[in-house]
């Protein structure tokens, strides 16, 4: 891979990961009230966890230093917590006692996560912008 724009592939991995996270969050929000998901039972929220991947390709000096890391998003289904149970006997999916099992989506939490993910996305865009600026600067040496 050509090292033209410094940090480019790392930032690309970050933008991809944040996008995946935002998609999971939107899916959660959209399905916050789905009580009859395919496979039975209420919708179960998607959770995204990031993990870092050492980028061996970027050599660090004489090889003594550490390498920078890219990031990868892992989507899992959060089947641990159950959502709240709402008393609504009229609801088509109510059980015998009249309770409806709602999805384990907490709207407030999802909104906060969405804001954090957007903020990270913007920060990584800035990193790409500055990296590109540095490359342009480099090419103008001697002009």
């Amino acid at each position: 891979m050509m090292r033209l724009v410094p940090g480019a592939d790392t930032t690309a991995s970050a933008l991809n990961a944040e996008r995946i996270k935002l998609e999971a969050i939107s899916q959660n929000i959209a399905n916050a009230n789905v009580t009859d998901a395919p496979g039975g039972g209420p919708y179960q929220r998607k959770e995204v966890v990031f993990e870092s991947i050492i980028n061996e390709a970027i050599s660090s000096g004489s090889g003594n230093g550490v390498n920078p890391s890219s990031v990868k998003a892992k989507i899992t289904t959060d089947s641990n917590n159950d959502g709240p149970q709402i008393y609504d006997p009229e609801h088509p999916h109510a059980d015998d006692a009249g309770y409806v099992q709602m999805p384990n989506v907490n709207i407030h939490e999802e909104m906060v996560n969405m804001i954090l993910a957007s903020r990270s996305y913007e920060a990584n865009l800035a990193a790409m912008k500055y990296g590109r600026r540095m490359a342009t600067q480099t090419l103008s040496i001697g002009r």
Binding site: M1, M2, R3, L4, P6, A135, T138, I141
Partner: protein, 136 residues
């Protein structure tokens, strides 16, 4: 290779001329080298090296080889710079992970070195031409 080849050829010609002048001095001591020509040679040396001792052209035999050695080394060094720049670019383009700035800087250094060699060649040609004019 053509640009380097051409410049090498010119430098070679200049070296031959310098040798011929020195040999002529050895054979016919009565041919005086005018003072300003010697000054010019000393100036060139001074401008381009840290060492400021001028090459004595009036001495028989030695001058030609010292001078041609200097020009020969110059051509060799410029060639090395060009090779380094080429290797750096290859490192970048083939994805071997050479960072862009190293290739750009190597190219610039090679270009400046090449320009130096061309100027030296020009000065040598001028000096030789002036010498031939005097002898005519």
């Amino acid at each position: 290779m053509d640009a380097i080849g051409q410049a090498t050829q010119f430098a070679q010609t200049a070296m031959d001329m310098a040798n011929r002048v020195a040999r002529q001095q050895a054979e016919d001591p009565s041919t005086l080298i005018p003072q300003d020509l010697q000054d010019q040679a000393a100036q060139i040396q001074e401008r381009f090296t840290a060492d400021t001792t001028p090459i004595p052209i009036t001495e028989t035999g030695n001058a030609g080889s010292a001078f041609s050695q200097m020009v020969g080394k110059l051509v060799a060094d410029v060639s090395v710079k060009q090779t380094e720049a080429g290797q750096a670019w290859q490192g970048v383009l083939s994805g071997q992970g050479v960072p862009l700035h190293q290739a750009v800087i190597a190219s610039e250094e090679a270009a400046v070195s090449f320009q130096l060699m061309v100027e030296v060649r020009n000065k040598l040609m001028e000096s030789f031409q002036e010498l031939m004019r005097m002898q005519a």
